[in-house]
């Protein structure tokens, strides 16, 4: 895999919710910041568009995993998201599960990575 290549959408599909929750783990964020954090964390490989991100945020809000508040300090209305207690529990549970899962996948895939000759 070349360095600049983006992750396949299939890979992201099952884990994006979890990553969004994790970005919110420390402090409240607003949409644009969350998007930037995800981009930075992936070294630019993961580009979550606004069109993908906001429906996810709204679904998490609907599921009461995040809560939000509006602020107008910057001169325009801004919606801030933060984890709820349920969100925090969910993050912990699913993160643990994901580690185990990723471990399994890594073990299974390791031979393939070494066998398949690298292409530029």
């Amino acid at each position: 895999m070349s360095k600049k290549e983006s992750f396949s959408p299939d890979l992201l599909r099952g884990s994006l919710d979890l990553m969004v929750l994790s970005v919110l783990a420390d402090d409240p964020q607003y949409g644009y910041l969350i998007q930037q954090r995800l981009r930075e964390a992936s070294g630019g490989r993961m580009s979550v568009t606004a069109g993908t991100l906001y429906p996810i945020l709204h679904r998490l809000e609907q599921d009461k995993l995040v809560k939000c508040r509006w602020e107008s300090t910057t001169g325009r209305r801004r919606k801030w998201y933060e984890l709820t207690a349920a969100g925090r529990r969910q993050l912990k549970q699913r993160a643990e599960q994901w580690y185990v899962y990723a471990d399994c996948v890594r073990k299974l895939l390791e031979p393939a990575v070494t066998i398949i000759p690298q292409t530029t």
């Binding site: 607003y30 949409g31 644009y32 998007q35 568009t49 606004a50 069109g51 993908t52 906001y54 429906p55 709204h58 679904r59 609907q62 509006w70 325009r76 209305r77 801004r78 919606k79």
Partner: protein, 638 residues
């Protein structure tokens, strides 16, 4: 800031969101914040303004898709329409930004040179009109002719709603009992759960029914306060008797026969008299008894009301919002469509103009134009009318105001959609000749087709002095409007020679004129004219010594005219004629041909007197005065 650029995208998306206003506003605010942040970020990185806008927008993706995602979160039922829109929508939104940018404040961050497009846009080409814009037309609102519940303004949008459910909810919304003729609908293959879609925004409820039913071949009528929903064919067979008091119209100079002609020519019909089947009409004194369908009754009522108006241009059966739509077609817009689906282009125009624009998809399918047919058009600073013309003409389509919205439909459908307009032309028409000249000009200088010339098409009728009634397509009525405005303008600059009545010397000139008419009428007028018009100025009728002018009137018989008339009329008229001529109506057998003796009145008098004579003859023709002194119309005298 860049907020205004983004508004278009937001308004497009908001339109597609099936959420409440509060939720929509909240989503818009959030996305606006994101867009501004991203745009500023890109500008800080040195990305040129134009590119920054496009990139920030592209990252939002398809407006329709995003709206659908939000909507799905809040609702389980998704609107089918949203699914149809592809990624092309976002390019449309981006294209729109290119166009609107010219009017925006300069970029606060990047101070690049003004884009070329902005310079072009700075001087929009307004389509030049040599003719002053005439007063907006008036109309008789069909909502005033339906039962009160159907005139109730409603706002409602639905898709994939089973027909029966939609009808029930409609009944609840307008609080009117509804009878759905399930047996009839089943006969024409429409199940009760047929999914229907429709939308209406603060307009009379009946318009929604017309919109939804148009593609299904359904119709409605009101019987005894109950709204019946049935097939179009079934509704066309349901006649009811209604009465119309026409006293005031008769007072204005209309005759019963002229009103009957008008009614039968200027409404959809069918009529027994001209189509061999359909509605019937009987006048009893000042009251007309009419058997017709619910819809045609409403059309007739609209026509009579339009005849009562003194408006320069009055549509006899047309929702007032259509006038707003027509004038909006003259507004200036710019478009930049490159290979976008027709439905997306229409959606963008809706968003840009704030108008409701519908696609007659069933008709488009019939003519082989799918809703996602790719279209391309770049036009700057042109009227919406021109934009539609160039967008749709190539596809055999056009746009007309229909059921309270602009409807994109086939040209054939538009040609079959006729409207009736009553024109008050008393300011430019002063004689029968004037009226005929104007009608000739209209029929020659507009596209038509006209029944008088082409055998099919639009109809004209000048029922009384100064009134012209025309039934034509939207397109030709627009041409008539322009022609009348041009004619009025020309008359203002240069009044016709005959009209220079303020010149006494001209009006005192003697002139010999020849008036053709039925012999009976000529005989009567020969005696009565010298008494009725300028008495004391006619040779042989006691010329006053103080008056120098001497008029003369003589009569010459000419070849008789023959007319083939319908049976019952022949028997009546023939019988009357024989009695007048002192003959016994001996022959009871109805003749096929009626022979009408003709004559010419040769009158030598001043121009001023000829004008008075013309006026008198018009009154005789219109039935205000009958030469025999009896009742009834004078149709066919001239």
């Amino acid at each position: 800031m860049s907020e205004r650029e983004f508004e278009l995208y937001l308004s497009l998306m908001s339109k597609l969101l099936r959420l409440g206003p509060e939720q929509t506003a909240s989503i818009s605010d959030e996305l606006r914040d994101h867009f501004d942040e991203r745009f500023e970020d890109l500008c800080r990185q040195g990305v040129p303004r134009e590119q920054a806008i496009r990139q920030a927008l592209d990252e939002f993706g398809d407006a329709a898709g995003l709206a659908a995602d939000f909507t799905q979160l809040a609702r389980t039922r998704r609107r089918r329409l949203i699914m149809r829109f592809s990624l092309a929508t976002v390019f449309l939104a981006a294209a729109a930004l290119m166009i609107t940018r010219a009017v925006l404040p300069p970029n606060p961050i990047i101070n690049g040179p003004a884009p070329v497009i902005a310079q072009e846009d700075a001087k929009p080409v307004t389509e030049t009109l040599d003719v002053p814009v005439p007063e907006p037309p008036t109309s008789i609102d069909p909502a005033t002719l339906v039962s009160a519940p159907l005139a109730k303004r409603i706002t409602w949008e639905f898709s994939e709603l089973p027909l029966k459910e939609m009808v029930n909810e409609f009944a609840e919304r307008i609080e009117m009992p509804v009878y759905l003729r399930e047996d009839v609908l089943s006969d024409i293959g429409i199940p009760m759960d047929e999914p229907v879609e429709g939308r209406i925004n603060d307009l009379p409820a009946y318009l929604l029914l017309d919109r939804v039913f148009a593609g299904l071949g359904l119709s409605w009528y009101v019987d005894d306060g109950i709204l019946n929903i049935t097939s179009g064919k079934d509704a066309d067979k349901r006649y009811t008797l209604d009465s119309y008091v026409i006293t005031d119209l008769l007072d204005r100079g209309y005759t019963v026969e002229r009103l009957r002609d008008l009614t039968e020519e200027m409404t959809e019909g069918p009529w027994q008299n001209i189509d061999g089947h359909g509605g019937t009409w009987t006048a009893v004194g000042d009251v007309v008894l009419m058997r017709q369908t619910d819809r045609v009754h409403r059309e007739v009522a609209g026509l009579f009301q339009a005849l009562r108006q003194n408006s320069a241009e009055c549509y006899s059966f047309d929702p007032p919002i259509h006038q707003a739509l027509r004038s909006q077609l003259d507004e200036i817009y710019s478009v930049d469509f490159k290979e976008v689906p027709l439905s997306s282009a229409i959606l963008w125009l809706e968003s840009e103009t704030g108008l409701q624009i519908g696609l007659a998809e069933d008709i488009l399918n019939d003519v082989g134009v799918p809703a996602d047919e790719p279209v391309s058009l770049v036009l700057k600073g042109r009227s919406l009318r021109t934009i539609f013309k160039y967008l749709l003409e190539r596809l055999g389509l056009t746009v007309i105001p229909q059921d309270g919205q602009l409807l994109v439909t086939s040209q054939e459908d538009a040609e079959e959609t006729l409207r009736t307009v009553v024109y008050n032309v008393s300011d430019v028409v002063h004689s029968i000749d004037d009226a005929q000249r104007l009608i000739d000009a209209i029929q020659e200088e507009t596209e038509g087709p006209w029944e008088d010339i082409d055998g099919i098409g639009g109809l004209t009728n000048a029922p009384i002095d100064g009134v012209l009634v025309i039934r034509q397509t939207e397109k030709v009525l627009q041409e008539v409007r322009e022609l009348l405005a041009a004619y009025r303008q020309a008359r203002v600059i240069s009044p016709p020679r005959d009209d220079r009545s303020d010149n006494p010397a001209e009006m005192a000139k003697l002139e010999t004129r020849y008036y053709h008419m039925n012999a009976d009428t000529a005989r009567d007028l020969q005696k009565q004219l010298p008494v009725l018009v300028q008495p004391g100025t006619w040779l042989g009728f006691g010329v006053s010594n103080e008056i120098a002018t001497v008029g003369q009137v003589s009569m010459v018989s000419t070849d008789p005219k023959t007319e083939t008339l319908p049976g019952r009329d022949i028997s009546r008229k023939t019988k009357d004629r024989k009695e007048q001529d002192g003959e016994e109506p001996a022959d009871e057998q109805q003749p096929d041909v009626l022979v009408i003796p003709q004559a010419v009145l040769i009158i030598n008098h001043t121009k001023a007197t000829h004008r008075e004579i013309e006026q008198l003859l018009r009154e005789v023709s219109n039935g205000k005065i009958t030469p025999h002194g009896g009742a009834g119309g004078g149709r066919g005298f001239f």
